[in-house]
C-alpha cells in the first residue's frame, strides 16, 4: 500500500518535470512573470514528490516493511536503527532515489539563488537540467523501481551486507552524491551560457561556487571511502586503484582543472572554450562512473544477477547527452567563445594552463587504465587487469614537475609577471635541501625518485607557507595547496616506511617486529545484537617499555551469516599499529597480521585541510584576490 504511494509520488514527480520543461521552453520567447512563478511552483512540487518517495522508503526501512522488495533484500528487523536507515542507499534502487533527491533539490536551489542572472540563461539551465532529471526519473521508474512489492510478504529480510555496516560508509554515498550531482548544475549551466552567449566573468564567478561545492563534497566523499577501506576492509591500504575508486577520482581531477580554469575566466575573460569543455567533461565523467558501476560491465566474470537493461539505458542516455552537448558546442562555439586576448609566457594564465595539462594527463591515465581492459576484451577477447604498477609508473614521475609548478604558480601575477631575482629564493632552496637531507637520513632512503619527490614536496610546502602571511592572499587556496602537499608527503612516507609481519601463533605466544614485542595474551568472546565476536587481546611492548593494548576481533554476523575480521588500530600522531586476526581451521593457531604504518593519520588530516580550504572558499565573501 505504502509502496504504491511511493511509486505514484515518483510518477507525479516525473510529470512535474515535464511541466517544468514545457513552461521553461514557453517562457524563453515570452517574458511572463506568471510563467516564472509556475516554473518555481512545479520545481518545488517535483522536489516535494521525490521527498515523499524518499520518506516512504525510509519509513519502510524504519518499520522493516518486508512487502517492499528493496527493504526485503537489504534490511533485517534486528538491524540497528542507524543501519536500517542508511541501508536505504546501500543498494541500487535506494541510492538512485537519493540521487534524484539531490538532483531535484539542487535545481530548485539554483533557480532560487540565481534571480539576479539573465532570464534566458536561467531558463536554459533549467531546461538542460530537466533533461537530466527526466532521464533519471525514467531510469528509476522503468528499470530500478525501489517500490516493487512482494507477495506473500516474507517474514524476515535478507539483511545488509555487514561490510557496509560502518559509519564512514553509511554517510559516504550522500556526500559523494552531492559532489557528483553538483556537476549536473555545472553542465546545464555551461550549455545554457553557451546558448545565451553568457560565457563571461559574471557567469564564471557565479559558477565557481557550484564548482567549489562539488569539488569539496567529492573530496569528502573520496576521503570517507578511503577511510572505510582502511578501517573496514582490513587490508591496511586506503587506495587500491580499483575501478570503482577510479571513477570517483576522474571527475575530481577534471573538477580541479575546472576550478583553476574558471578563476582565469573570472579574472581575465580567457579560456572560454576550455572552461566549457571541462564543465561538460566533468559531468560526463560522473555519468560514466554511474554507468560503469551500475551496469556490471567492470566485472568480466561474475555471478551477481545484473539487469542488462540498466546498463543499456544509462549508456544510451550518456551518449545522447554527449551528442547534445557536442552539437551545441559546435553551433555556438565560434559565436560566443572567441578569445581575443593574448597570454604572456610568464603569467598566472600560463600556470593555470600548465595545471590543466597535468590534470588532463592524470585524468587520461586513470581513464585509460579503467576503460582499456573493457575495450581490449571486446576487440581481442584478451583479459587483462590494470593495477597499481601501471598507475605508479605513469603517474609518479610526472608528479615531480607538477609539484614544482604548483609551488611557483600561485605567486605568479595575472597578465604578466616580471621575473626578478630575489635573495629569498636561495633561502627557500637551502631550507628545502636541509629538510630533505635530514628526512632522507632518517628514512635511510636510497631511491633517487623518492628523494627527488621528497625534495619537490618540501619545496612546495616551504614555498606555500609564507603565502599565508602575505596581504591580499587567497587563504583557501593556500590551505588546499598546503593540504595537498602534506597529503602527498604522508602517502610517500607511509608507503616507503610501512612494515608488515604475518605469523601463525597460539594464545600466549609472542613475536618481535622491529623494536616491538607483540604478545598474544588471551581470547574472549562477546555477544552483540547483530553479531557475536571473538576478540584477541594483544600487548605490544616497545623499547621504552610502554605497553599498548590492541584487541582485534572476528565478528560473526547473524543476518546474513557472514564473518568479518575487525582490525584493531592504534593511531598515534606518528604511526598506526594495525593488527588483524583470522581463525585457522582445526588448529589452535591464529593467523596474525601486524602492520606498522607511519603517518597514516596525516593522510586523513591533510585531506581534511584540503576540504577546509574548499569550505572556506565556498563561504568567503571577499572575492577580489589579485
Amino acid at each position: 500500500m505504502l509502496s504504491n504511494v511511493g511509486f505514484l509520488s515518483l510518477f507525479f514527480g516525473l510529470i512535474s518535470s515535464f511541466v517544468v520543461f514545457l513552461y521553461s521552453v514557453l517562457n524563453i520567447k515570452k517574458n511572463s512573470l506568471n510563467l516564472e512563478k509556475k516554473i518555481y511552483k512545479f520545481l518545488t512540487l517535483q522536489f516535494f514528490f521525490v521527498v515523499i518517495s524518499f520518506f516512504i522508503l525510509s519509513y519502510s526501512f524504519f518499520i522493516s516493511d518486508f512487502s517492499n522488495a528493496t527493504v526485503y533484500n537489504n534490511s533485517h528487523s534486528t538491524k540497528p536503527l542507524f543501519y536500517k536507515i542508511t541501508g536505504l542507499w546501500g543498494n541500487h534502487e535506494g541510492s538512485l532515489l537519493l540521487w534524484l533527491l539531490v538532483l531535484t533539490s539542487f535545481i530548485l536551489f539554483f533557480f532560487f539563488n540565481s534571480k539576479n542572472e539573465i532570464k534566458n540563461f536561467r531558463l536554459y539551465t533549467v531546461i538542460f537540467h530537466q533533461i537530466i532529471v527526466i532521464g533519471f526519473f525514467i531510469f528509476v521508474l522503468k528499470t530500478s523501481n525501489p517500490f516493487d512489492t512482494l507477495f506473500p510478504i516474507p517474514p524476515e529480510g535478507l539483511g545488509l551486507n555487514p561490510i557496509l555496516q560502518d559509519p564512514a560508509l553509511a554517510i559516504h554515498p550522500p556526500i559523494l552524491y552531492v559532489g557528483y550531482v553538483g556537476t549536473s548544475i555545472i553542465f546545464a549551466s555551461a550549455l545554457a551560457a553557451m546558448v545565451t552567449g553568457y560565457v563571461n566573468s559574471i557567469w564564471a564567478k557565479n559558477l565557481k561556487k557550484w564548482v567549489l561545492i562539488s569539488w569539496t563534497f567529492l573530496t569528502g566523499g573520496i576521503l570517507l571511502g578511503s577511510i572505510w577501506a582502511y578501517y573496514e576492509l582490513g587490508w591496511g591500504g586506503f587506495w587500491f586503484w580499483d575501478p570503482v575508486e577510479n571513477i570517483s577520482l576522474m571527475p575530481w581531477l577534471s573538477l580541479t582543472a575546472l576550478l583553476h580554469c574558471i578563476s582565469t575566466l573570472e579574472k581575465r575573460d580567457l579560456l572560454k572554450s576550455w572552461s566549457i569543455i571541462l564543465c561538460i567533461v566533468t559531468f560526463m565523467l560522473s555519468i560514466t562512473g554511474t554507468f560503469l558501476v551500475r551496469s556490471g560491465i567492470l566485472n568480466s566474470v561474475h555471478t551477481f544477477a545484473n539487469d542488462p537493461s540498466r546498463g543499456i539505458y544509462i549508456l544510451s542516455f550518456l551518449f545522447i547527452l554527449i551528442f547534445m552537448s557536442f552539437v551545441i558546442f559546435f553551433i555556438f562555439e565560434s559565436k560566443n567563445l572567441e578569445n581575443k586576448k593574448q597570454i604572456f609566457f610568464l603569467s598566472k594564465e600560463t600556470s593555470v594552463l600548465i595545471n590543466n595539462w597535468f590534470m588532463i594527463y592524470f585524468l587520461s591515465v586513470v581513464l585509460i587504465g579503467t576503460v582499456y581492459p573493457i575495450f581490449l576484451d571486446v576487440i581481442t577477447s584478451e583479459k587483462i587487469s590494470v593495477g597499481p604498477p601501471f598507475y605508479n609508473k605513469l603517474l609518479i614521475p610526472f608528479l615531480v614537475p607538477f609539484f614544482l609548478f604548483m609551488s611557483v604558480g600561485p605567486s605568479m601575477n595575472w597578465i604578466k609577471t616580471n621575473l626578478k631575482f630575489k635573495v629569498s629564493y636561495i633561502y627557500y632552496f637551502l631550507l628545502t635541501s636541509i629538510a630533505t637531507g635530514i628526512t632522507v637520513y632518517f628514512l635511510s632512503q636510497k631511491n633517487l625518485l623518492t628523494i627527488i619527490l621528497i625534495f619537490s614536496l618540501f619545496f612546495l610546502i616551504i614555498k606555500t607557507l609564507p603565502n599565508f602571511l602575505k596581504n591580499n592572499t587567497n587563504n583557501s587556496q593556500n590551505l588546499s595547496h598546503l593540504g595537498f602537499a602534506m597529503l602527498m608527503l604522508s602517502i610517500l612516507f607511509n608507503s616507503v616506511t610501512s612494515t608488515e609481519i604475518i605469523k601463525n601463533i597460539k594464545v600466549g605466544d609472542s613475536f618481535i617486529s622491529k623494536n616491538e614485542k607483540i604478545t598474544f595474551k588471551k581470547v574472549r568472546t562477546e555477544e552483540e545484537k547483530n553479531y557475536s565476536s571473538i576478540i584477541g587481546i594483544f600487548e605490544i611492548k616497545n623499547n621504552n617499555n610502554e605497553i599498548i593494548k590492541l584487541n582485534p576481533a572476528i565478528r560473526i554476523y547473524n543476518q546474513p551469516v557472514v564473518a568479518t575480521s575487525e582490525a584493531a588500530i592504534k593511531t598515534t600522531l606518528f604511526k598506526d599499529r594495525f593488527i588483524t586476526i583470522n581463525l585457522i581451521k582445526d588448529e589452535q593457531l591464529f593467523n596474525v597480521r601486524y602492520q606498522n604504518k607511519p603517518f597514516m593519520i596525516w593522510i586523513w588530516i591533510s585531506t581534511l585541510i584540503i576540504i577546509f580550504g574548499g569550505t572556506f572558499a565556498i563561504f568567503s565573501k571577499k572575492k577580489n584576490y589579485p
Binding site: 554507468f291 568480466s300 566474470v301 543499456i312 557536442f326 568479518t564 583470522n582 581463525l583
Partner: protein, 185 residues
C-alpha cells in the same frame, strides 16, 4: 578572406565528423561489452583442449608459491574446484566436496577466485575446508586461462593433467556419482 573562412568551416566539419565517428565507435564497443557473453573460455573452446594448462599460484594462508604439476603427482586423481566466498552456490556444494575428501585416490584442490583473503578464510572457517590445497587467484587471470566460465566450476584431472570431467556450476549428487565411477574404473 572568404576562402579562409570556407577552409575553417571545412575543417570544422571534418573534425565533427571524426569526433562523431569516434563517439559511435565508443558506443558500439561499450554496448557490445554490455551484451557480451561473459562466459568465456579460451582453452576449452569447442571442447578441443583435453589437458589443463600448468600454473603456479600462491597458497591462500601462507602465500607460498605452489606449482600445479607438482602437487597433482601426490594422488591418482585431483579435483580442482574454483570458488569464491561471495558465490552462493559455492556454499551449497561445500558439503558434497567434503564427502569426496576422504577418498584415498583423490585430492581436492581449491582455487579461490577474485576474492578478499579475509573473506575466503572466513568462508573456510564457517563452512569447513574440503580442500587439501588452497590456492588463491586474486585477480582471476589463472582461472580464466583454465577456461573457467565463472564460479563455481570443477575439473577432475589425472596425474598428467588430462581433463576427465568438467562441471560448470555447482556440483550435485549425479556429478558425485560420475566422479566416483571415473575414479573406480
Amino acid at each position: 578572406m572568404e576562402a579562409h573562412l570556407q577552409f575553417l568551416a571545412k575543417k570544422k566539419i571534418t573534425l565533427s565528423f571524426l569526433i562523431i565517428a569516434f563517439l559511435v565507435f565508443c558506443f558500439l564497443i561499450l554496448n557490445k561489452a554490455l551484451n557480451k557473453d561473459k562466459t568465456y573460455s579460451p582453452i576449452f573452446q569447442n571442447e578441443k583442449a583435453t589437458y589443463l594448462p600448468n600454473f603456479n599460484l600462491p597458497e591462500l594462508f601462507s602465500s607460498n608459491e605452489i606449482v600445479l604439476s607438482e602437487i597433482i603427482k601426490e594422488r591418482e586423481f585431483s579435483l580442482i574446484n574454483i570458488w569464491a566466498s561471495w558465490c552462493v552456490p559455492c556454499r551449497e556444494e561445500n558439503d558434497l566436496l567434503k564427502s569426496l575428501s576422504n577418498i584415498s585416490s583423490l585430492q581436492n584442490i581449491g582455487i579461490n577466485y577474485k576474492d578478499k583473503k579475509k573473506n575466503s578464510i572466513n568462508f573456510l572457517n564457517d563452512y569447513g575446508n574440503p580442500f587439501k590445497y588452497n590456492l588463491a587467484d586474486y585477480n582471476g587471470t589463472e582461472s580464466i586461462n583454465l577456461g573457467a566460465y565463472g564460479v563455481p566450476e570443477t575439473f577432475l584431472i589425472n596425474k598428467n593433467r588430462k581433463i576427465l570431467l568438467k562441471i560448470i556450476g555447482p556440483i550435485d549428487n549425479d556429478h558425485i556419482k560420475k566422479i566416483k565411477e571415473i575414479i573406480n574404473d
